[in-house]
Amino acid sequence: MSELVKISIDGQEYQVPAGANLLQVCLDLGLMVPHFCYHEALGPAGSCRLCAAMVAPSAEKPAQLVMTCMTKVSEGMVVKIQDPYAKDFRRGVIEYLMLNHPHDCPVCDEGGECMLQDMTVLSEHIHRRSRFPKRTWRNQYLGPLIHHEMNRCITCYRCVRFYREYALGKDLGVFGSRDRVYFGRVKDGVLESEFAGNLVDVCPTGVFTNKRFREVYSRPWDLHTARAICVHCSIGCNLLPGGRHRTLRRIKPHPHKELNRFFICDRGRYGGEYVNLYPRQTRPTIAGTEVGFREAIHHAATQLRGIVEQHGTKAIVALGSSRASLETNAALNLLFKALGAEPQIVYYDSDEEYAAVRLAASLTTSRAITVPTLVEMEKCDFVLSIGGDLTGEAPMFDLSVRQAIRAGAAFFVISPRAGKLDEFARSVLRVRPDALAQAVEKILQALSNPAETIAPEIADIVQALRSAKKPLFLCSAIHGDVALIKATYDLAKAAHQENRPCFLAYYYPAANSVGVALANDSLEPTKALDLLRTGTAKAVIAVEHDLATFFGNLENAKGILEKCAFSMIVSSVDSIPPDMATVWLPASPHYLTSGKFVNYEGRVQHSEGLSLATPLTDGPADLLLSLIEDLGKSALLEQAQYSDIFAVAAEQNVELDELTAKDGGIFIRGQLRPTDLMRDSSPSLPKREMIRWDIIQTFGSEELSALAPPIAELAAPARIEMHPDDMAQQNIAEGDFVPVPDTPSMKLKVVPNPNLARGTFAVPRLPAHVASQVPVEVQA
């Protein structure tokens, strides 16, 4: 705890932390000092001059007008916010800021939440006195996400301070001088940073506004809002979606002290628009024929009961979903119970993913490692990113790492393909996907045997790691590399022994990956596939799971479904033609339904649902519960309280030995035994000459957000990347079409990428049900 000092503000005495920023102190005390350029995350600039107050170092000394944002509190300080001289000065500052402002408030997209308006009122500037012409600017096209309206600018420099200094972006700058200062790009064009959307919140007025929101503008106070959890990656950023009438209008970050603080990535901000695209078929169907919900549910209940009666307790296979809530997956589990069947639920698309996610999640929740919050990551002085691209796979990790880098952290990367953060790395180890674990093991060896000479390519890393005070390891659990997860764990453990805090965070394919990983009943995908292919299983249920992706493609999916006596799809997106299944139950999507998610830390977070007058009112969990009711097993529902994490966990047969409440969150501690999982891990794959690597793009690779029009617009085209030397060796020229490994039916254009490990085909991961909607240059 820092030392407290006594200060007086407008005649009141307060105890405040010594050396704290005076403006922040006032704001924290609820004393509204008008300000613009100061931002809690960006700090002061001292440029707007609005936060003025009279300050004296002590009661005896004379007071001076100072900027509170540039002042540190000290013992005995006397602050007068309401001093007439200071008030007059602040009024003046607003008047000057408003000289060239267009006064276009009625048509402004910032209307209703404009800091400029609030500060103007607060500073009591009322009458415009200037009679001179206003300066006007030309605006720029900044891409599909952000609208630019420079005339509203008040030159607080927040935009460039966020974009360039905080997010380390390169293509937004400040130009000109005197009373002609312009903020924008050198030329019109899409802003490059994946965090550009934060400009909307950072700008205190309407210069940078949400381009999608302004399309169908609503006054902010007319929006329904709810506290939600982002569903587009495993970090679990806190959001405040706002909707009106039948649509989700926009998403803003909801401040969270340990996670996303004030910011979110553009996938989170703009990806939610998918919820406005309901399944084309919003009525349930039975064998393609539209029916009512009751009828469809009753039909499903009857059929499922019949199948269990006829074929036994192992006749049903279900696909759960790691992007659906705990409640949804628990309801699926309960359905098996209601049917008296053995739960055979699969959450993953491949065995590798199954093994990797479960191992990483169990390490996380068993407390074998110390998992950092986003804010803790920012304070690490050594960061090693292993086996993934943070920008695409865990975007807000990227932003946190940028903060660590700004503070001087030594940053290193081990990955098969260059990512956006590589330019900040002290060194980059470019290795084949199947050699990642070895590279990490090498570092471990070097660390534990100081006597040995260190291979030059890892010398930097080892040296920096040895001298680091707070090392951080970030490791992808998205590419299904169990050996890597284990190796990274071993390395972090070894680093831990050196008597210093050492952090390790794995990141996962989906928002609830850690939540579903705790389910002991989860089935390996190939086992499920076998059950279905061989006809052992007679029925299949898919809940928020894309069948085309699971079975490889739509054709395969169709074949399997046709083989089954019964199939049911519960989905909030259009993933498959409804008539392919016996029963099709369209569900209300995320953001409109509530549920719990477990993020990369094992933190359980509740996402509220917006209540909007939409065509679909029931979420997937509700639909499954109705089914259980129809089965006459309402009693089961009464036992299980779905708002209670214990109950949910119990439904999934997970033993939770402990619940830890940390600031602002519940953490689950699962009982999956990491050691067992490690022993289970699949044997190393046969060495192949060329190996596939999935590029996880910030825009386009995540199933749900990829459907959102602005995200789809930003998705890079599908392609196969190869190292130029490999291309030469294999006589492949740029622009040739090559079959996609593991999906030979698809051929993609080859693009050379010298920043790719040799022996690697890199292909963007495109969810099957969105592949058709993303710009793909495919040769059939």
């Binding site: 440029s47 001059r49 609005l50 000065f89 000057y96 000289l99 001088s177 005197r178 009373d179 002609r180």
Partner: protein, 422 residues
């Protein structure tokens, strides 16, 4: 005229750069030789003892400023000469650079030695391109003769000096903006603290000194602080370059004892009024200082006396107005400069200067409104509280203009025309 020290080798009317040989013949590099024979701290003490105050405008004691530079610092430290000289009415550094480049180089060498700085820059405004060329040649000469570069005169001390030609902007004269400019950035000022002495150019300890300040150093070393202290009048140390321009018969630049009365400068050196009108106003320290009216013309031109009389010595280059000058039109001209040269970083300066300029122009052109005076009064208070000293500098002439010549403003507003300008 009193003893010539800085202008010893220079004819301000026709400055021709003194060559290395001539410079040495007239006693050049003697100060440096003495300095190198002493310890750095001894040299600092001599400068402290001399009572030399910065000639860049603020008059901060030079020796004291130097003493803030950490002497035990292991990294690179920098010495920077501020030759931005864009303050309207000022033309003293030009004469020093164009006339006697080695004097500046020697001064920098001694300063660098005193603070153990091995790298130096001369930041020179774009329009003094020829001056930069003169300096480049002189630097080459000094290197040839072992007064710059490695192991200077066998002392073991290295000092590398180069010129930096600015791309032009008044704010670059402000020392922290200068540092940003030198770093290849936009010349916005930086917040202080940290002061440049601790974290300056590229984050390293840095001293920024004015040309004239540095040119005094060789003489102080050569002839001693006692001699230097006696050069001025009434206990003021040193001589001061003083200039006069505007409505005077013989505008020019002179080296006078610190403390020479303004009236002496105006009448004896500048030859009195250039037109039939008597003097009406003088800005004593170049543009960014409060205006004097005839009651104050007896003020001795030294830092403390001018301050006591309500203005600032600034660069001691006076700008003179006579009774035929309209002070409203003059104020418009003055504020045009500030509006145009504001760096645009902070609000009152960026927006306020242009509003003042527009308003004063309107009044000048007979379009003024009575309420305009309230606007000007408000602005004149508020521009004192900006991020850097630029706008307070603008406040000085502006506030005194609307105070001392308020009647002229009011008359313009009431009569919608000017009856003063001749």
């Amino acid at each position: 005229m009193s003893e010539k020290v800085l202008l010893k080798n220079i004819d301000p009317k026709n400055p021709q750069p003194v060559t290395f040989e001539q410079y040495v013949k007239n006693g050049g590099y003697e100060g440096a030789r003495i300095a190198l024979s002493k310890t750095p701290l001894e040299v600092q003490q001599i400068v402290k003892d001399s009572g030399l105050r910065g000639r860049g405008g603020a008059g901060f004691p030079t020796g004291l400023k130097w003493s803030f530079v950490p002497m035990d610092y292991q990294g690179q430290k920098y010495l920077i000469c501020n030759c931005d000289e864009m303050e309207p009415g000022t033309f003293k550094d030009r004469a020093l650079v164009y006339g006697d480049p080695h004097q500046l180089i020697e001064g920098m060498l001694i300063a660098a030695y005193a603070m153990q700085m091995t790298k130096g820059f001369i930041f020179i405004r774009y329009e003094y391109k020829k001056g930069a060329e003169i300096l480049d040649r002189a630097i080459a000469e000094a290197e040839q003769h072992g007064w710059l570069g490695k192991n200077i005169q066998g002392s073991g001390f290295d000092f590398h000096l180069e010129t930096h030609l600015s791309a032009g902007r008044y704010i670059c004269g402000e020392e922290t903006a200068l540092l940003n400019s030198l770093e290849g950035k936009r010349a916005n000022p930086r917040s202080k603290p940290p002061f440049p002495q601790i974290r300056g150019f590229l984050g390293q300890p840095t001293i920024v000194n004015n040309v004239e300040t540095l040119c005094n150093i060789p003489h102080i070393l050569a002839k001693g602080p006692e001699w230097y202290k006696k050069l001025g009048l009434n206990g003021n140390a040193g001589t001061k370059l003083m200039g006069a321009s505007g409505r005077v018969k013989t505008p020019g630049l002179w080296e006078l004892p610190m403390g020479t009365p303004l009236s002496v400068l105006l009448n004896e050196y500048a030859g009195g009024p250039s037109r039939e009108f008597p003097f009406k106003a003088v800005i004593p320290g170049a543009l960014s200082t409060p205006i004097f009216t005839p009651e104050q013309f007896d003020t001795p031109m030294d830092f403390d006396s001018v301050a006591k009389a309500g203005s600032r010595l600034g660069t001691a280059c006076v700008i003179v107005f006579d009774e035929g000058d309209c002070m409203v039109a003059a104020t418009a001209n003055i504020m045009k400069f500030y509006a145009r040269e504001s760096c645009g970083f902070c609000t009152p300066c960026r927006e306020g200067m242009q509003w003042i300029y527009d308003t004063v122009c309107a009044i000048r052109d007979g379009q003024g409104q009575p309420s305009d005076m309230q606007v000007l009064d408000d602005l004149s208070r508020h521009i004192a509280h900006t991020f850097c000293a630029f706008a307070p500098g603008a406040q000085d002439p502006f506030l005194s203009a609307i105070t001392k010549f308020r009647h002229e403003f009011e008359e313009h507003i009431a009569k919608r025309t000017c009856s003063i300008a001749k």
